[in-house]
Amino acid sequence: MDLVFFKIALVLYLGASIAYLIFLLLSSEGRAPLGFWLAIAGFAAHSLSILHRAIFSGYWPLAGPFDVLSVFAWMVMGIFFLLLYKVPSPILGSMAAPIASVLMLYGATWSYQIREPLVPVLKSFWLPIHVILAIAGNSIFALTAIGGCMYMLQEKLIKSKRIGRFHRLLPSLETLDKINRHGLPFGFFLLTLGIITGALWAGSVWGSYWSWDPKETWSLITWFAYAAMVHQRVVLGWRGKKAAMLAIFGFGLVMFTFVGVSALLGGHHAFEPQTGMMKPGM
């Protein structure tokens, strides 16, 4: 199978990452548009790649880690562009583009073959609903964490009175806090839906909604962590630095649940090393 679009997208994302990195190091506004256009081109190629995978497999291209990571990266970039529309700060790209690149590189270490026939579990209509909701939630958390990192940096610069170029490149604290304020509850909402649809899917194929599989357990832990954060944020009025730290910590947990659990703990969400296919059952 041809991965030409995937490869083009990856190269463009890496190019965008480098352009954004140069932009950061030199603080030269002139470099930012280059990164942006590379990222846009990468996103276009990436969209074609996903479309191509969908047509090729004749189904939602979400069955293996290669595709899931690819869609994850695609969503991170997509939300980044949406966010860029609201917060016109090129510095966001210097974090989104590398994250997308890393996700795709990690995906590329897995086999992109789709073993035919697909196990029946994966032929369910729950697959796209569950996976897309879960990944969308993760992408939101990723960008919220990026916003958190930028908040911590900007806050440190302002507190220590280092008002230089870097300070000017970063968005205002208020804007960054707004990303957090909207990102946490929205991501939490998607995560909740992801878990519920997962349970419904499990219920429809295995007859049991919840089986304490490691991924499920960690998802629940993540869910509780975010529930606590949203509570702190909305009810106790936590904001600023504390909220930013929570977002970063939360995303660490998300990434562990998403990548670490499958790799370390196994379970029915885990992928078989040889084929990269989901294990068929419990």
Binding site: Q154, K161, I163, S172, L173, E174, K178, G237, G240, K242
Partner: protein, 436 residues
């Protein structure tokens, strides 16, 4: 002939003096007209903004005229000349021209590069021109000033980022609080510096400023002038809880805001971020307050540091702007030199001679059939024609040298014949007094 500038601005005079020198009654340029009646003054323009008040004048005899202008400024405002003498600057010749160009280009503003000043200069000129207080020299000077300002704005980055403490404070406030429109300012103490910063911030806000002061009466006065509200000192805590930007400038010897006190305030604020600007000396706010989460405390030195940082890139721009001004000053001074009787006559003669030679060489083909004698005759005839034409204007110009409106006639003559300096200007060579 000389250009004079007499006046005061934010760097030479304190607010208490500046706010008195406002040239009342100049709405239709009458005061500018009055200035032209001062002994020695031929043309005058009055420039009055909240940061400066000055008279730009053209004089035939520089001796003593500046002094006369200074006394007139004082008398206009019911002041003794000696009371304002020390705050005035006197500029003449190229210095005065440079000053006018720098003012119009916003290089002399308190907020470097701020855009309003050009409009204010234009307004001052328009009033004077309407009242007939300006003549060819100041018309030319001001048009060159507008041209210089336009060049500075389009060719340098000076206008892009105004640099000053107040401006830096506003920018910083935006980086912390985002959009300032719905944010609230609290002024603690009614000092002059605090008022200045507050005025600058006030342009960004829709909420009224709250003023707290030990003397409630002073608080009310300041609040009224800022269109804000006053609160007695006992309600400072309420003010601190409600505010987003706080400017303190009390004369207190002890800090009035301590770390423990402000921790309590922050709890009531539910950690809403707050930007505190402490411009008092000794400080009103304990430096440790900056360690509290969500509090961003800057004192005047910190802000000065920010300005320096901003200046880094702008200094170069300002330098380039100064070069443009210097260039334009030289051009203007060169033009004023041509505006004298002798150079005008020379230029007129040269122009006619050039026309004569040009026409002769154009007809060279047709004249080739003529013998040397006949050619000689043609030369003589043409030369005598131009001499006859030039005779009356030259006699007139020589007589003009002793008239009071010398410059006007010289300028008119130069325009009529499109001589020298009049040529590089507008396409038809005619400058109307400024209208907009």
């Amino acid at each position: 002939m000389e250009i004079l500038v007499v006046g005061l601005n934010h760097s030479t005079a304190p607010v208490s003096i500046r706010e008195r020198i406002t040239f009342p009654g100049n709405e239709s340029g009458d005061v500018a007209r009055l200035m032209t009646l001062v002994e020695g003054v031929e043309e005058a323009i009055i420039l009055s903004t909240c940061n400066r008040g000055e008279v730009i004048a053209m004089t035939g005899e520089p001796e003593g005229t500046a002094e006369n202008i200074a006394s007139t400024i004082a008398h206009l405002h019911n002041l003794e000349p000696d009371a304002i003498r020390e705050f005035l600057y006197f500029k003449n010749g190229p210095d005065a021209v440079r000053h006018v160009f720098r003012v119009a280009s916003s290089l002399d503003s308190m907020v470097l590069g701020e855009p309003q000043i050009l409009g204010q200069v234009k307004e001052g000129y328009r009033r004077a021109a309407r009242a007939g207080a300006t003549g060819p020299i100041l018309n030319r000077l001001l048009h060159r000033a507008f041209f210089t300002a336009k060049r500075v704005r389009s060719e340098t980055g000076v206008g892009k980022a105004a640099v000053s403490v107040a401006y830096a404070a506003v920018k910083l406030a935006k980086k912390i609080l985002g959009d300032l429109r719905d944010k609230r300012i609290l002024l603690i103490g009614a000092g002059e510096m605090a008022e200045l910063s507050a005025r600058h911030l006030n342009t960004q806000l829709e909420e009224p400023i709250v003023v707290v002061n030990r003397s409630y009466e002073n608080a009310c006065t300041l609040a009224r002038s800022l269109c804000g509200k006053a609160m007695p000192m006992e309600h400072m805590e309420t003010g601190l809880v409600g505010a987003d930007v706080v400017i303190t400038s009390t004369g207190s010897c002890e800090p009035i805001i301590t770390r423990n006190y402000f921790k309590k305030v922050m709890r009531q604020r539910r950690s809403r971020p707050i930007f505190i600007i402490d411009i008092a000396l000794p400080r009103d706010v304990e430096p440790e307050v900056n360690d509290i989460d969500g509090v961003y405390l800057y004192n005047i030195d910190d802000l000065q540091g920010v300005v320096e940082e901003n200046l880094g890139g702008r200094r170069e721009e300002a330098g380039r702007a100064e070069n443009i001004v210097a260039e334009e000053v030289i051009k203007f001074i060169e033009w004023t030199r041509t505006l004298d009787v002798a150079p005008t006559i020379v230029a007129l003669k040269e122009k006619l001679e050039k026309i004569r030679e040009g026409e002769l060489s154009r007809l060279n083909g047709k004249l080739s059939s003529l013998g040397p004698e006949e050619r000689e005759a043609v030369e003589i005839i043409t030369r005598s024609i131009i001499n006859k034409i030039a005779h009356d204007p030259i006699v007139f110009l020589k007589k003009v040298g002793s008239l009071s409106k010398t410059r006007f006639y010289l300028d008119t003559a130069q325009r009529l014949f499109k001589l020298g300096g009049a040529q590089d200007e507008t396409s038809n060579g005619v400058e109307e007094p400024y209208h907009e």
